[in-house]
């Protein structure tokens, strides 16, 4: 599986870099892929 990447844009310089997500960033991504995570579900 390809490592997940993120695009990081700086509004001051206008530059965008693409890099692999850090372990911390990966952990913060919701893992539920479908509607079980929808807002109509209980918290």
């Amino acid at each position: 599986m390809e490592p997940l990447t993120g695009a990081f844009h700086d509004a001051i310089t206008g530059e965008t870099i693409v890099r692999e997500l850090t372990n911390e960033e990966l952990k913060s991504i919701p893992q539920t892929p479908g509607e079980a995570d929808d807002a109509s579900e209980p918290a």
């Binding site: 599986m1 997940l4 990447t5 993120g6 695009a7 990081f8 844009h9 700086d10 509004a11 001051i12 206008g14 965008t16 693409v18 997500l21 960033e25 913060s28 991504i29 919701p30 893992q31 539920t32 892929p33 479908g34 509607e35 995570d37 929808d38 807002a39 109509s40 209980p42 918290a43």
Partner: protein
Amino acid sequence: MTYPVFATGDVLPASDMNAIGLWKVTTATATNQSTLSINNCFTNNFDNYRIIFMLTAVSANVNFYWRLRASGTDSTAGYYWGGLRVGTLGTSSVNANSPRPGAEVNPSFLSSAIPQGTSTIELSRPNESVNTPFTFVENFNDTTDQQIRSGGGIHLVASAYDGITFGVAGGATMSGIVRVYGWRD
């Protein structure tokens, strides 16, 4: 003075230019990434912002989220929000969600087959050390229907933010464009 209707050759003095209501701060693009983060887009130049996210591709049927961001780190707690979701085929719901610390906000079930969709978000005072109210209107295709959702909420963390992250759940990737605008104070 021809304000607010300008004519060819008019001089545009600062007083007129400073009265223009909506100013584009930046445009950011993602191509097959899991997240798109924009840094340094919220400053003390504006109190209120409009963000328009246009999805152009997604690798799987997944949820979509956004989060406020400060100094390169997303805030993953304190999002309170609710909304009305209307399906064009008649499947509708009221989304009165309780706070979901650490969870995503504005999830929509995106269809990889029909990924076109747009979310327009209004943020109030994200760059100030106060809670951040927001409203949103979005339309996305899910696997069975065209969904339209509108609502609002508050990020109940009294911190100043300088950026925003958009992302998709579950290890998927997306392509899209985000434009950030500031409303003239």
